[in-house]
Symmetry: C2
Subunit: 236 residues, 2 copies
Amino acid sequence: MNRTRNMYDFESFKDSAALSMEEICSEIFREYQHRIRIKKEKVAVKNLVKIFNATLSLSARKGFHAMSLRDLSKECGLSMGALYAYFTNKEMLLEIILLQGRRLIKKTLEEVIFNEKFAWHKLVALLRTHIFLSEVLHKWFFFSFMEAKNLSKEEQKAAIASELYTEKLIADILFEGKDKGLFAVEDPIMTASLIKAMLQDWYLKRWKYKKRGISVEEYSDFVTKAIAKIIGVHLQ
Amino acid sequence: MNRTRNMYDFESFKDSAALSMEEICSEIFREYQHRIRIKKEKVAVKNLVKIFNATLSLSARKGFHAMSLRDLSKECGLSMGALYAYFTNKEMLLEIILLQGRRLIKKTLEEVIFNEKFAWHKLVALLRTHIFLSEVLHKWFFFSFMEAKNLSKEEQKAAIASELYTEKLIADILFEGKDKGLFAVEDPIMTASLIKAMLQDWYLKRWKYKKRGISVEEYSDFVTKAIAKIIGVHLQ
DNA sequence: GTCTATATACCGATAGAC
DNA sequence: GTCTATCGGTATATAGAC
């Protein structure tokens, strides 16, 4: 099947990308092996999946700092002592989750742009991919947005850099389209900010769209059409 | 001076609305008098201003739950014991702040729509007012967005209702414009959601716009132009 | 009305048995 | 590799002096 067409429906996207928690946790395990006390990969990955899922769920309900490690222990079925075999302290748990997510997003977005040739196609692919990605990793996107303000200076810097990076990916496409006379954009950076805000709404207000029965594909199409109007692209 | 023209620049807006912390806290005092131990209005209001400002500032940095009452006590210059004369527990403090803010916003937005006759003017006035309001009460807007997920079921319901209410104000104007053949809108509710997302970006990403030197008026104008394009309104 | 001192509970983190 | 028991510290909330 054609790869590009493939990306346009959500189910294929989900299957094509290495986005399952097991795959993500395997990577985490390999990278943090020296700081994780458990040595058997199979055991470690199984529990890391539990720990991260539980952390994201509990934090979504009450915030990372308000989530006690006792809560976490209960939710993921490991004792307090066992938890500390997977991270040296609560801060490190936060760090791993955020870092790994940022990387995955960066990699996925870059790939998708690289595979398109025309500015408008690049933009559409980027929009769809970002929205699809935030659907698959909804808990992570919500978490990283909500916890950003509570992080250490260093982690905050990384979070800001990540936000600006995504915005720059969008802005660069807008600049390209503007230069080639394809887009009617006065201020690509401001326009990119607005686009980013629309992308974010999918994971910040997911409850609203779910309640209304708006699918991720419908949302993506709607946003794309709105942006086409803003930048003066006429869809057939 | 003409009231409507008045509303179009930020400084006049700031002066015209009863938005100072003193005024807000006077209202709070009168409403919660029976649950506040301090009886002298002058003393109470002075300290309520300190308490709310400190709460909003500290929560913006680390979250409401992570803010200890010791932190708060230090920041606002009152002892732990004194604080408890103004609220019965931490939850009540949260409740007061959220309730009073919601009311103020509702009142201000309704007033501004009421004063305009034409759909497009209503929409422009609503956009500007929402953005201006979120600039004046930036701390509050940021706080209520970030803390929403950590609230009690009841408070969450109120927060959601408030979100949907603002969206409905926008949607109703879009419906009106559509019916009169003035706006080219296929789905007013979805469009209203997108508009809301753009409005929110001003207070959620304020650091970004401040750093780039974008003023509140510039942002408001930019968003208004983008929306005009989305709904097919041609500005002269 | 505001203070200091304190009660009680729970937090993150660790030690040591198994 | 996982458990239970427990450490010192800090949280909310209150009692009683001034």
